[in-house]
Symmetry: C2
């Protein structure tokens, strides 16, 4: 495409038109491929879309079948509204929203009726004022309750619906005479909507949040294992330092684990609403998955530190002596890496098949043994060397922290230029902070230093 644009550049407007069209076609094609990929990555998404269409069409039947329509009046639109708003991707999401909506409507409807009766006692003039005060107070209090973390996590949607229904019932009561009929209609249409959603969601290709969480936690363990096993072969293995690790896919996959908390929390929250299904009982310990997720992320952090250190090492061109000590450490590292990887794969399989196996412990015991072997390489009587090693390791880790601060300075400096921060008025000259990794490599970060 680009070369075509280059040749057409000076030919005039007429030759631009087909180019613009073909460009649009190209973009449309790309978009279509993106859409196709999204569907292919998880075909349940296509089914979900069809399910929403199905539920909405089912609800529309209430408009077509006359007797039902006459019974419920124009309130039927509440049913349509409920289906659109309540229908979520996972069963747990739909259940959580549906139950929140149904109970909040019930509670707020009853309170609204109470408020109406109370306000009626104040006479024709006092009624609207009193209703206004009620609405203000309840809306303010309910909104504030959403800041309580426990309520926010589980009942956020219910509180919204509570405020909504109370306001509608309380405010309508001033106009609409048949208040009880209205409340009753609203409740039954919401119930019909929620029931439709639940049936479609649970009985037509259901997507269970619990199962997704179960699989996600196992997949995250696999990603860490993938890094460690890759390292064991490619870096610590016999091929070591034969080539750069850059561009290897196994180096990247674990990174998504670091930011998995939000997804896990939301899946666990939905999973708690789900009834027992397949291999998961109603009181399945979903919280434990969050705990596994937390320790997995801690491990991913350690891996990140290791990866960062190794990348830095690879960039610096060190003289390599074929040291016996080094080879031994290398071999032990290869074993630690591979065995830990195997242990993690074992754990992931154990979760996936819901079958405990102690093999993971055995693999980790072997990794631990290899770690002890490294320690033993330094003769215990020579406590001086051991202390040197410990201090050096601490210093290396701290050096890594210092190195990580470089990009922070660079990105804040970029912000200061983009957002037009104030700059010191006296002149400035460009200096360079050398990266720590090696003296030979070119400076990576340029920091401006005042004259």
């Amino acid at each position: 495409m680009d070369s075509a644009a280059g040749t057409n550049e000076k030919v005039g407007f007429n030759s631009w038109c087909p180019f613009l069209i073909s460009d649009s076609i190209q973009k449309l094609k790309e978009f279509a491929q993106k859409i196709k990929k999204i569907g292919k990555d998880d075909p349940r998404r296509v089914f979900h879309s069809l399910k929403v269409g199905l539920a909405l069409t089912l609800i529309s039947i209430f408009y077509y079948i006359n007797p039902l329509f006459h019974g419920l009046g124009t309130s039927t639109m509440w049913a349509v509204l409920t289906v659109v708003v309540v229908m979520e991707y996972t069963v747990g999401g739909t259940l959580s929203k549906g139950l929140n909506r149904a109970f909040a409507t019930l509670l707020a409807g009853a309170l609204g009726l109470g408020a109406h009766h109370l306000a009626a006692l104040a006479g024709d003039k006092g009624e609207p004022i009193l209703l206004g005060v009620f609405v203000f107070m309840l809306a303010a209090m309910a909104t504030f309750s959403r800041f309580v973390p426990e309520i926010k996590a589980r009942y956020d949607y219910g509180v919204t619906i509570f405020i909504l229904t109370f306001s509608l019932v309380a405010v309508s009561s001033y106009r609409v005479e048949e208040l009880i009929k209205l409340a009753h209609q609203r409740l039954s249409t919401v119930a019909i909507g929620v029931a439709t959603c639940l049936c479609t969601s649970m009985f037509v290709f259901p997507v269970w949040a619990g199962e997704d969480l179960h699989m996600l936690v196992a997949a995250n363990l696999d990603k860490l294992a993938c890094f460690l096993e890759g390292m064991g072969v490619e870096y610590f293995g016999e091929k070591m330092e034969s080539g750069s690790l850059e561009g290897k896919s196994f180096l990247q996959s674990y990174k998504t684990v670091l930011n998995s908390k939000a997804t896990e929390d939301s899946l666990a929250n939905f999973a708690r609403w789900e009834p027992g299904h397949g291999r998961f009982g109603f009181r399945h310990p979903w919280n434990q998955y969050l705990k596994i997720g937390a320790v997995t992320r801690t491990c991913a952090c350690s891996i990140e530190a290791l990866n960062a250190y190794i990348s830095t090492l690879q960039q610096s061109h060190q003289t390599t002596t074929d040291l016996e000590f080094k080879q031994k450490v290398q071999a032990a590292c290869a074993e630690m890496s591979k065995e830990t990887g195997k242990a993690l794969v074992e754990l992931a399989t154990s979760i996936r098949e819901m079958k405990w196996s102690s093999t993971a412990g055995k693999h980790l015991a072997m990794a631990t043994e290899a770690a002890c072997r490294v320690k033993a390489l330094v003769p215990t009587e020579n406590s001086t060397l051991l202390e040197v090693l410990v201090s050096a390791t601490t210093a290396s880790l701290l050096t890594e922290v210092v190195r990580c601060t470089n990009p922070i300075i660079a990105s804040v400096e970029e912000l200061s230029r983009l957002a037009e921060f104030k700059w010191p008025e006296h002149g400035r000259k460009a200096g360079a902070v050398k990266p720590i990794a090696s003296a030979e490599s070119p400076p990576q970060v340029v920091i401006v230093i005042e004259k």
Copy 2:
């Protein structure tokens, strides 16, 4: 409370009653204190709650003032509904939801009218069928579009409202004769609702998502600095190893940085909708904050690795020799830690005051110098020792990864018990994997090993 319960235990039902009441009172008191704390932590939450109440009361006026009510009919409830659903904590959130709602209603209303005209051509019998097909197709397509990440991030709410309005207009058209009037009513009430929300949100104690993001990014840098400066004084400083670091608050504060991605993403997303305000222009580079956030989290990960290593060291009781080498490394570490901390504080201040200062670079240069000093402690001609140090550091980092895998095994094992995974049928005996930190400390994780 507990001791009171103990003495009352055998006295019978009558003495239980006052206990139950005082227990409830105690719980209520605790809850009230929690609520109070939430309000005190961020008083803007209280203002927000009052603002929602205010906006709802303002909208209710439409019911009280008769001429307006007669003009818009029962659709006024759409205005109430809009206020409840659109009003968000931040201006950006309200704007994003409000604009999404307004434009989606407009677009879907127009499409719904078109669908109605098209379906009318099919005759009395074909019309409901055709409308049903339209609703099914549009709902399915729109729902699928929500899986596209870009649409999900910015227009998720708009798509929901689009499906909702289209279904309502298309389905209602079969019954309600005055379709155009309905669409017009709905649009004007939604516009009134959105306008009320925007005015209350922007002009009464506004909470800007952009400013929150700005402050959050600076606060996260401060948290990392807090750890490093604390380490510089308490661990690497002269007091070193005099006492355990456990329970020190500076060791914990950086941990929240690790999980800050979701909050930052959502704030940045809302900030993009906000008009210029205070020190922030309309096209303020919000994306750059996300970049700073990402490198800050990488640095937090390094800090986590350092912290984990130091904690492990502290648990193992090493023999301490007052080595000259060690003391020198120690001093350099103290400088690295303090100077990096200062650099981060400087960056945070620079962001907060929107005033670039090169002091951060100077501090980091000093930290880098200290890091080089550590390297120089190992004589360059003695490349063997250098290589030993590098291999040992890699091994230490990897050992840390192995150590992190221990809690993963323990938590998966707990899951396997809680969720009643299958266990191998032949007997099992308890074995113990020793933690790596030291041979003396008791085993931390018990792993069951088959016979």
